[in-house]
Symmetry: C2
Subunit: 327 residues, 2 copies
Amino acid sequence: MVKEDRLIIGESWLKDGLKKDKTLQIVYSIAPKGRFHLGFVVPLLKLKKLQSLKRVSMTIILADVDAFLDNEKCAWNVREARCDYYTMMLHQIFALLNLKDIKIIRSSSYQLEPKYTLELYQVASIVTRDEAALLEGVNLASLLSPLYFAIDHYHLDIDIVILGEDMRPYAEFAEKVSRHRGQRPRAQILLPVLPSISGRKMSASDPEFHLDLLDSPKQIKQKVARSFCEPGNLANNIAFELAKYFVLPLLDSELTIERSEENGGNVRVSSCAELERIIVSGCLHPADLKAAVVSEINRFCDPIREHFSSRLKLISAAFPNKKRGKK
Amino acid sequence: MVKEDRLIIGESWLKDGLKKDKTLQIVYSIAPKGRFHLGFVVPLLKLKKLQSLKRVSMTIILADVDAFLDNEKCAWNVREARCDYYTMMLHQIFALLNLKDIKIIRSSSYQLEPKYTLELYQVASIVTRDEAALLEGVNLASLLSPLYFAIDHYHLDIDIVILGEDMRPYAEFAEKVSRHRGQRPRAQILLPVLPSISGRKMSASDPEFHLDLLDSPKQIKQKVARSFCEPGNLANNIAFELAKYFVLPLLDSELTIERSEENGGNVRVSSCAELERIIVSGCLHPADLKAAVVSEINRFCDPIREHFSSRLKLISAAFPNKKRGKK
């Protein structure tokens, strides 16, 4: 279960923890900076796998203070609505993935308490400005965000932290802070990051290139159609990566790629290795792969779109600034 | 009363405030970073003058969070003892100066509250790293200290802030933050800063050169004896500055400079202008001026030394680190 993740910090601590007869606290943190996109679902698929462990307790943190500090990507006055929208989105996905017993908490519920604030200052006094500079922007608040990430690890008594590979500097920073504060180490599972249509990581602040779960079926189709996908080539093949990191883990069985008879008829793929072989062989047309990926993404998004279609007020409350909120 | 201070930010706001029939909140902030020295007394002499205004309410803030953030010059675990020592020192001086009804509060009593912390983050999001870099040191905490200073102005609803001229960048920063946060402006009275024996400003972190109120009479004498004081020259004349900013305001009447008959006999000085004239005329020997200054400083310190002589435990609790605490 853990073996297949190549990117782990603190594997030995994790093994120790698994041996002991204790409930492991697993946490995945989401900063509500922009629209909820497909990239957020990859760690949830991981949580689904981890739920088969005997003793786990899972929490998702809506890091609203953090999203505010990062150049006010979540303005303080839209915070409540933004968190409501993320919470509703998460509950929809929990239902679709059959994920149970996952707590959702907002970081503002504990990060403004005196005890936490004092800890923040204690950490601020041992961390240099350069070490804390993991976010873009010149404002002072952006230097505080990595401190939150680190302090949460021991403040919430977490055992396993799930995060994207792009967050590796945060993971290393957190490990260093934990040690310095005399805290036991935490295992951090770094997951591969879903690419956006432009090829970079799928990002909330990049609406033109990310796949919003509320995009229309047509928008999903158009976006994937624009993505790089060369016959016979796995490198930077976005349709392949969407299949590898989202579609195949989601299905947890066979993916059927529909093709006309003249193109060789339908293909069934039951593993990533199999899909790689077919692509490398050059006999799978990119259009067919893209169509299969689009079809599965839309199948996943359909009930979510349906649920939100009567809740548009929440969306406009969460994104009142048209410039930022509009697609 | 205010006219004689050349250094004021927001003089017009102060005049407006004086015209209105309201009680003016006056605050002087002290960060308990090191030993209590004579430099802290100059603003207290100013408070004494301001007490003659009809409606004033005075507060001294012991900025303990601030002293911690500034490179841990007040370690968190000695904070209580350090504040107790500063409080006792202040009460001694209040008694000597006949200062009444001055509240003493510790900044930790309100600066860790959620409302304040949130305000800190709001300000941090509009301030750049460069703007906040008013303190030495590379740690992140030192960037937060100026924010505290600024937020206190409106969080505590202060009207007049008393501070040393060396704090001018803080005063300007606070003014900018207040405006940006939509707060009414505050008057800031910048006072001349007492020099240390080395000529730079008297600083708590500079025990060899500052005049500790608990220095022995002999130490005070030796320190002043070492200071620059050239016959006929007012420039960088430390004994003259000690007389101008501490002794004359303290006495509020005549200073008697004792001299042997062969050196011209005793001189009485009733104003700074008079002292300047005598020095410039070249007929006052530096040794005589220094002796007079030392005598007045020791007269002031005697009862304070006496009070603390039976309370040495408090001093060692406030400065447990011998390297930092020892004279």
